[in-house]
Symmetry: C2
């Protein structure tokens, strides 16, 4: 008896040829158990009529199924599903759903505690203005320079050598230019062997955490601190030990007190502009921190993500530039220099750590984007990055001053802050009984997005602090944003 | 008493201003203990003469040091290092190395067993020809199309929305186009929620391993198999259980035998062209594998990295297209379609797994390259990828035939092989007592790089097998490569 196929349709507008659509549909019906092993399929004429296609199309579909070993033709008998297929019982899990339903959930168990969910939710409707966490203005991003570099890849010979698999450690050219750049701007006497090119500084944090932390190890972080780093350490199994942060940065007496009580594996520090408070670690604490790391044998992960943005004086050199012992791992990024979506960062460390980090990176994603890395190398080499930084610095400096002036003029009684030396945000504190959460909630319907302050402290306390990113708004936009903030704040009084 | 600074030099050709070089050098001398806390620095005139710079430059340097809190000026007395710096003892680790030496090794301990070293070493000198592992010909890469897409980013308004932080799950547009592409070409009825954009399929393997494997879990792999996947599973703590691979793919009786004895967490399979042997998993084994995964509750990781390259008939649809239970995780990539250095891959799975994988991905590197992902979305949308695949398929088909003919003509007695249905390499076996290693060693001085066969089997045995990648050589190059291979092989007889 010839089996009846379930109804099927073909769609001539698809890029998949019609014969293949027919063949695939029959395979699905076999796999779902609608068509049993050994049963006879309709003749090509019959099926062609049913589907309103040419008979030759059905024959080609059947040829395809023969080639794939799903069916066989018996001379003078017809076309049959091969006999040796495992029987799919009609009640089997494989058969009891319509084909269109892709499974909603995995049948196997997926743990839900391997990584925390995102801390942020997208706004319901796009706000008029946003005080972000301190992001650069993407309108200033030198996209034109990047496109110019990509045009160079039209040179076929030149581009060939960057198209196959490349070094997991990152582009040789980029590491060379970066070593020079880091030496000149940050006093890091490094060679290409001390550098691993990463996807943003985020990957540097991840690699360090995975390599150095054994579950249960103690990692010291500032509180308030950068949740993005804390999440990475905790995911690797670290016990976080939080120390206070004051106007001169991490409280090192608190750090030493921890060291005396237990073994510390790693200390995370943003010496330049501590996230979120924007304070700079003072010179004497820098030296003290290096001494402590030698005395107690812990690694220092120095996250210097916005070193390049300085308004007060020249930047204090990184800890890594003074490290003679090999205790400092230095992480940085071009995500703030060019744009957040341009994911080029770097990790600087003694060779033995770079070697192990490169091994792990190879397992994670094999290598970075070679073309992008070459483009960045060229932009560094011909001074484009330096020129762009100088220009952006001037603009952000002005914007910082504008925001600080506007806050003083409009919210003198409601918000306290210190003018930050650099970076892209002002760390502010609401007065009285205003909380970050209530201000944020009040600002939202006015069209202003301002942080609700839940992620600054490790214990998710109700805080009165807020980080006001100013870099991505021009003068008019800052004025509008502060106007809306003032409106929200004053409506709470 | 005025302290004597160690000799220093300035370099006017650097991009760092001279005053800053002076300031930085003094900071280094303080940090190294050469200049003690509280000591008096030379006057600006004296230091200017010594360094042969303008006196104003030294004054600016001192202003900088005051601003950074390293020194202070006492009226009518001079310039002094601030008194409160921690004392650096001359024998301290911080002091006993010249500044130019960046630390050779970390002071803290770095484990060396977190990830294996690379399996491959670069050749001493560039070979004339290479039988690689099965890489595409980068000379065919549609770089011009990619550059065309990057030119579109010159449209300022258009590009803005892709320059800030984007979704960790990957570009919405790319997931949309990819869902359509996967539906049309592979019969996967997925939506954008079932897709995570990764950096190559490598990152999909890493994410799955990290999410699903608890140290000690059993993962089933084929032997011979793909070392790149085995390394990732072992790094996550898996116990590998190897099952044989025959002409129809993974031996599923062996798989079921394991299932009966112990709990399997994950099975890794390349059903399309098994790496390294290029065999296709037969239809009945596909169905059997899905049934086994339901019966024993393990996850299937289907690596379909070269689905798009087919010469015999149309490709057998992926396991994922027949999975009704939610047991199949599907991984693919455009690294073979465009070029290995273009790192865009994808992971397809039920939503609950995609959600957890996205969380972990956010910790690793936050997100992919938005511009590249948008470019890929557009190339998929306007059919450029499909057109390129059709063209490349035709060329690689020819090259496969050329290699097989050349091997038959020149090495009929020395090499056995089956013509592969698709993919980019021929799996071959040397006859007699030839080993892959001896042939490789003999070929090397002739200018031919051919794999030494140590990575195909999980136990690094001396093998007689070799994977001969043909896709990246044209007819002349293949002829030359086989000529050199024949020369190497025959010299061993």
């Amino acid at each position: 008896m010839i089996i009846k196929l379930l109804p099927m349709t073909v769609d001539k507008t698809l890029s998949v040829p019609v014969y293949l659509q027919i063949a695939n549909e029959i395979i699905f019906q076999i796999q779902r158990g609608n068509v049993r092993s050994g049963s006879q399929l309709p003749g090509s004429r019959e099926l062609a009529e049913q589907l309103q296609v040419h008979r030759k199309t059905v024959r080609t579909a059947y040829d395809e199924l023969v080639a794939q070993s799903w069916i066989e033709t018996k001379p003078r008998k017809g076309v049959f599903v091969v006999p040796n297929l495992p029987e799919v019982k009609p009640r089997s899990i494989l058969a009891n759903q319509p084909r269109s339903a892709y499974p909603k959930r995995t049948f196997f168990e997926v743990p839900e505690d391997k990584a925390p969910p995102s801390r942020f939710t997208a706004p319901v409707r796009p706000p008029i203005r946003t005080f972000n966490d301190g992001f650069p203005d993407t309108r200033l991003a030198p996209t034109n320079l990047l496109i110019r570099e990509y045009r160079r890849f039209a040179n076929f010979q030149f581009t060939q050598k960057f198209l196959s698999y490349g070094p997991a450690q990152g582009s040789e050219n980029l590491r060379f230019e970066l070593a020079r750049f880091l030496n000149e701007t940050r006093g890091l006497r490094v060679t290409t062997d001390n550098i691993l090119i990463t996807k943003g500084s985020q990957m540097a944090l991840y690699l360090v955490a995975q390599l150095l932390i054994v579950p249960g190890n103690t990692v010291v972080v500032g509180d308030p601190g950068f949740f993005g780093a804390n999440d990475v350490f905790e995911q690797a199994g670290a016990q976080l030990h939080c120390v206070p942060v004051d106007a001169r940065g991490l409280d090192l007496n608190a750090v030493e007190a921890v060291c005396r009580r237990k073994k510390i594996r790693l200390l995370y520090v943003v010496p330049h502009h501590h996230h979120p408070t924007t304070v700079t670690l003072s010179p004497e604490r820098r030296m003290q921190l290096l001494e402590l790391s030698v005395k107690y044998g812990f690694a220092i992960l120095e996250d210097d993500y916005d070193y390049d943005f300085q308004y007060a004086s020249s930047p204090v050199l990184p800890l890594a530039s003074a490290d003679q012992s090999g205790n400092v791992i230095y992480a940085g990024s071009f995500c703030k220099t060019i744009a957040p979506a341009i994911r080029v960062g770097f990790m600087v460390a003694p060779e033995n750590l770079i070697e192990q980090a490169t091994r792990l990176r190879r397992l994670i994603d094999r290598q970075g984007e070679s073309l992008l890395e070459e483009a960045m190398a060229h932009l560094l080499k011909n001074g484009d990055i330096t020129r762009h930084l100088r220009k952006a610095n001037k603009i952000y400096h002005e914007r910082r001053d504008i925001l600080c002036r506007l806050l003083r003029e409009n919210l003198a009684d409601e918000i306290r802050f210190e003018v930050p030396d650099g970076g892209m945000s002002v760390w502010a504190t609401y007065s009285g009984n205003l909380t970050s959460k209530t201000v944020s909630e009040r600002a939202d319907p006015l069209g202003l997005r301002v942080d609700s302050g839940e992620n600054y402290f490790h214990q998710k306390i109700q805080s009165q602090h807020v980080r006001l990113g100013f870099a991505s708004m021009n003068a008019d936009e800052l004025e509008q944003a502060v106007f809306l903030l003032a409106k929200a704040v004053k409506s709470l009084h």
